[in-house]
């Protein structure tokens, strides 16, 4: 099961955080900080897996991360998930983001937090991988987008 998904930039500023288990807000912030410290000091050419920090459950959990330009994508998973599988899931996530935003960059994540969350919700639901099929994800996200647009257009005629 996936415990948490964190995205932060090279300076440790969180850009997206999604926890699938409950932690208090303070703990969440500490987890983000701890994870950043663990991940950021790793070289480029060593492996993408490491043991989770103490806050998020220690050695039972693994951090699997990828570093893209200015952003770190970190998935915290328990031992039941396959490391390489998750590594590629991150890739799928990023590629999906890329397709939805056309050349995704850090700013997109800042200004469209809700959209990123929606995309993520299509991929991972309650800690379980829901969909890994990229085209399916994009179809869903776009369908929702369309529906929303029609709603917005419909609104003036309604009573809202």
């Amino acid at each position: 099961m996936i415990k948490a998904i964190l995205i932060f930039n090279n300076h440790g500023k969180p850009r997206l955080s999604k926890f699938y288990e409950h932690y208090t807000e303070d703990t969440e912030q500490q987890i983000i900080r701890e994870t950043f410290h663990l991940v950021s000091k790793r070289d480029e050419n060593i492996c993408n897996f490491l043991e989770g920090g103490l806050l998020i459950g220690g050695s039972d959990n693994k951090l699997i991360y990828r570093h893209y330009a200015t952003l770190y994508f970190v998935f915290c998973v328990d031992s039941s998930e396959s490391e390489l599988g998750i590594l590629d899931l991150i890739q799928v996530f990023v590629e999906t983001l890329d397709k939805c935003f056309e050349n995704v960059c850090e700013l997109d994540l800042i200004f469209h937090v809700d959209k990123v969350h929606n995309i993520l919700a299509e991929m991972v639901m309650g800690g379980m991988v829901l969909e890994t099929n990229m085209s399916e994800i994009i179809t869903q996200v776009e369908a929702q987008g369309k529906m929303e647009k029609s709603e917005v257009r419909a609104a003036p005629f309604g009573l809202v």
Binding site: Q29, L130, V152
Partner: protein
């Protein structure tokens, strides 16, 4: 509003408190149009957690949206349900979510399946009735829905693989179709068809095929296929390969596949890509449990990885080394681990099971404590203390160990102790308090002086001070002047607990009679408390009034007393509770100078009723305590006083292996030479190759001896044959009381059993009637079937368990299959702990005869419950009765009553702890609900029920 909510989400993520917006998020979800609703729901799932009170406000909205015809609204509702809904709200939405399983849109079905999975995780019993619908989801046309249903099956099968064997065929077919490219192309990722689906399926298959030959055979072909298909070109294919390799090694082995898998591992380990190397090491770690020799092939790579710059790789390598630890390479490996300890706080204590001798062991532990110190988990020092306190079989060895510990700690304390971690100090003071008297050459005053010195140090925490003080209390006898000074100094301390203890110390040192009294009561108290029972302290009343009458210690208000008791618990004098049963049999009172110990033993021999009651209660309570120290010598106690609890053989156990290890020691390289990798390799991998009798297996069970009776039998298969051939066979009943039995086990020595040379009973062929040969006094006891253990042309061996009310007897039949007469039979009894623990459980319980009413009352009073579906023997006319009778016969249960489709069954442990079983027919399954005051017992009973049912012929 929508925009604001998005901002609020962002603020919250950055760590600013935005709780004032929570209610607005809910409002937005309730009132807005689709767009706003979406943001509202999103905010809710980010802001609120399962226990949040505002969630209640959301239930109606979710219900409404679940019924909505708008796809997106339904989707959102399902997502939020899966994300935040707590246990008690599930019933409200369950029917609606269930309906969604047959929704025409696959996306809805998929989300509904996952939501149900989430429900299953939170409250398994609430979704029990929809298992058939899960099957439907598995057969869904849409691959996506099928994929999500695999989550559920993975979980279900992990819990009970036996119930789902029939699905193996389906899973294999699915995997075949996936491999054959039958799925739509857009499921491909990097030209690999649905890789995540494959991963999931492989994992399920490996669970199903574990230790099951017939099921495994179904999947050989498809595993072979996936191994072949997964060409080495991309990460994701490696992920599949890794999962494949794991599956191959988990299921019933097939040589051809194993070979391929081994090659794969080789590729992994040798890969220049660091991620793959990591995976290779992980695979190797997994595989060496099955075949330790594999590590030999890759020794050079492993050595390189040891010095790798990547922390993760290093850690994994140590994990691997840890798995191949044996008596011969332990020093080198532990040294490596200690190196590692300087940069991290990880060291698996189990490794030390192979400690070659006392001094090394204590020294290593000292290193561990002083470097690891406060970062270590609490149980490491606890376990260490327990080991010291409980000791092992031989008293001399124990004392030697303790003596050595005392010596080394005194040396440490004489040096500069200010930088040492608190844990270490606490540990040292405990050991000194307990065992300082063993070291006669050192003056007690000197010890007291050292401890006092420690007490004065600024860096010492107050918790540690309490430890030190209680150590001082133990050794203070006769040193009144020193103690008085000390107590005087501390009675003005800021810390109330400390002050109180100093006060007590002073009182005690002035009145030696009281001193003994108190220490004895303290011990009893700690026994009771460390096992967490009897908080009413009623048994102390007598003592309190007496003490008051004597005008000794002033009465403390309850909360303070409580605090003190808590403190006592923190002091962790737990070992006492364990040494209690030991001291009954093995402690002699002779050379006890420590008042504490003396009082234990005297207390136990004393006949006060209050006391015996107390002892009774504390032995009873011991069941609840996790007994981590697997030790051969303990089996006896487990049998008579308390049932064994899970987790056998968890840790340090030096003396058992000591002898053997010492013999091997000369082969060890002096560890200073480890610059040379080759040499390191040879020392690391020693014992893995040809002499594989000391491989991981024996390490797992903490025993140097081979487990399988087969080997020991063959060792004496050719014992002297004499010329006469008067009897067709000759046999020997080795009736062994548990006591006798364990004593053999302890020694691990060969026992020469001299057969009763003239046998008047001629055993009929076959083992079926062997029970007729039981000694007369045992004949009437209920007994298990005689099961054949092993046989070879000359000897066959079978065993049978007899259930006596207070004990279990193990009878071993050794029969001679040849015509010749055997004079001596050497029997080597070795305990394989894991196995033994389990079988003990199966036999330490007895039927519990109660009426239905009593059952009802008892049921309500029990705390630990476990639910599980079991197989029902369906072919008979009355399946429930048949099943229960089968269980009754196999497991010594008492069937209390059968009412309609429900049945109640009861049993108890020898020591009295009951376990109640409630069975209900649920379709083709038997829903079993077990309750017991004992946390582990239900699981054990359940395990045995499962096994018994699986073995019953259908």
């Amino acid at each position: 509003m929508r925009e604001i909510m998005v901002r609020a989400m962002y603020c919250e993520m950055l760590g600013y408190d935005a709780s004032f917006t929570y209610i607005h998020a809910i409002k937005l979800a309730q009132q807005g149009g689709v767009l706003e609703k979406r943001v509202g729901y999103l905010a809710v799932s980010l802001f609120l957690n399962e226990g949040h009170e505002l969630l209640l406000l959301l239930v109606n909205t979710v219900l409404k949206d679940l019924q909505s015809t708008n796809l997106i609204e339904a989707c959102m509702a399902l997502t939020v349900v899966a994300q935040v809904f707590p246990k008690d709200m599930i019933p409200a939405v369950l029917p609606l979510v269930e309906d969604k399983l047959s929704h025409p849109k696959e996306i809805i079905r998929r989300k509904a399946v996952l939501a149900l999975y989430k429900f299953y995780l939170i409250a398994p019993n609430q979704v029990q009735h929809i298992h058939s619908k899960f099957r439907k989801a598995l057969c869904d046309q849409d691959p996506g829905v099928m994929t999500s249903s695999l989550h559920i099956y993975l979980q279900l099968i992990t819990e009970s693989p036996d119930g789902y064997k029939d699905l193996t065929g389906s899973f294999v077919t699915i995997l075949k179709q996936v491999l054959g490219g039958k799925l739509p192309v857009d499921f491909n990722y990097r030209n690999v068809p649905a890789p995540w689906l494959q991963l999931q399926l492989l994992r399920i298959l490996s669970l199903l095929g574990r230790e099951d030959q017939s099921t495994s055979e179904l999947m050989y072909e498809v595993l072979d296929e996936s191994l072949r298909r997964a060409e080495m070109n991309h990460n994701i294919t490696y992920a599949i390969l890794y999962e494949c390799v794991k599956a191959v090694y988990t299921i019933h082995p097939k040589a051809e596949l194993l070979e391929k898998a081994t090659r794969c591992i080789g590729n992994f380990v040798l890969s220049p890509k660091i991620n793959l190397k990591y995976l290779g090491l992980k695979a190797l770690t997994y595989v060496v449990q099955h075949d330790a020799k594999l590590a030999l092939q890759h020794q050079m790579t492993i050595i390189e990885c040891l010095d790798h710059t990547d922390f993760t790789i290093k850690r994994e390598t140590l994990e691997l080394l840890f798995r191949i630890t044996n008596a011969q390479n332990v020093t080198v490996i532990v040294e490596k681990m200690l190196d590692f300890l300087h940069v991290s706080c990880y060291v698996p204590m189990k490794t030390l099971t192979f400690a070659p001798d006392n001094s090394w062991f204590i020294q290593t532990m000292n290193d561990v404590f002083s470097t690891g110190g406060d970062l270590l988990q609490q149980d490491v020092p606890n376990n260490f203390l327990r080991l010291l306190a409980e000791g092992s079989e031989s008293k001399e060895e124990d004392d030697q160990l303790r003596l050595y510990a005392v010596d080394s700690y005194l040396t440490v304390l004489k040096g500069d102790a200010s930088h040492l971690p608190q844990r270490f100090l606490q540990l040292m003071s405990w050991v000194l308090g307990e065992y300082a008297h063993l070291q006669e050459s050192v003056d007690q005053r000197e010890v007291i002086r050292l401890l006092t010195q420690l007490l004065d140090q600024r860096s010492v925490s107050s918790e540690t001070r309490v430890w030190i003080l209680s150590a001082l209390t133990k050794i203070s006898e006769g040193q009144t002047d020193l103690i008085l000074d000390l107590a005087e100094g501390l009675s003005s301390s800021q810390d109330t607990v400390l002050r109180q203890q100093a006060q007590e110390l002073r009182q005690l040192s002035q009145d030696s009679q009281l001193y003994e009294w108190v220490l004895f009561h303290l011990v009893a108290l700690v026994c009771v408390f460390s096992s967490q029972v009897d908080s009413s302290l009623s048994f102390l009343d007598g003592f309190v009034s007496e003490a008051l009458a004597a005008g000794a210690a002033p009465y403390k208000p309850p909360h303070q007393r409580q605090q003190e008791l808590c403190e006592d618990r923190a002091l962790n004098l737990e070992p006492y509770s364990f040494s209690l049963p030991v001291s009954l049999s093995s402690c002699s009172i002779t050379d006890r100078q420590s008042p504490t110990l003396l009082s234990i033993s005297s207390g136990l021999s004393g006949n006060s009723t209050e006391l015996s009651q107390k002892a009774g209660s504390s032995t009873l309570i011991l069941e609840g305590v996790k007994r981590v120290w697997g030790k051969d010598g303990y089996l006896q106690q487990k049998e008579t006083t308390a049932p064994p609890v899970d987790e056998p053989s968890a840790a340090v156990q030096p003396s058992g292996q000591q002898e053997a290890a010492e013999r091997l020691e000369p082969q060890l390289e002096p560890s200073t030479q480890n610059q040379d990798k080759q040499q390191l390799a040879s020392s690391l991998f020693v014992g893995l190759g040809a002499g594989s009798s000391i491989t991981t297996d024996s390490f797992l069970y903490g025993s140097l001896l081979e487990e399988e009776p087969a080997t020991s039998i063959s060792a004496f298969g050719h014992t002297p044959k004499s010329s006469t051939a008067n009897g067709p066979a000759q046999n020997k009943d080795t009736k062994e009381d548990r006591r006798a039995n364990t004593s053999h086990i302890l020694g691990g020595d060969m026992v020469i059993v001299r057969p009763n040379t003239i046998q008047d009973k001629h055993p009929p062929p076959g083992s079926s009637d062997l029970t007729a040969l039981l000694p007369a006094d045992l004949k009437d006891l209920p007994h298990s079937d005689v099961s054949s253990l092993t046989s070879d042309p000359s000897l066959s061996m079978s065993s049978c368990r007899l259930f006596r009310d207070e004990a279990l007897l193990l009878v071993i039949f050794i029969s001679n299959c040849t015509e010749t007469v055997i004079k001596d039979v050497a029997v080597q009894l070795t305990c394989e702990e894991l196995e033994v623990c389990y079988s003990f459980f199966s036999v330490t319980h007895r039927p519990l005869v109660v009426t239905t009413e009593e059952y009802g009352k008892l049921w309500l009073s029990l705390s630990h419950d476990v639910k599980q579906n079991l197989k029902l023997l369906t072919d008979a006319r009355d399946p429930l009765r048949t099943t229960l009778n089968a269980l009754k016969d196999a497991l010594q249960l008492h069937v209390v009553d059968i009412i309609g489709s429900e049945g109640i069954v009861a049993c108890r442990l020898l020591s009295g702890a009951p376990c109640l079983l409630h069975c209900r027919v649920n379709g083709a399954a038997l829903a079993m609900w077990l309750r017991s005051p004992h946390p582990v017992l239900p699981y054990c009973i359940l395990y045995h029920c499962q096994r018994a049912l699986a073995q019953t012929p259908r």
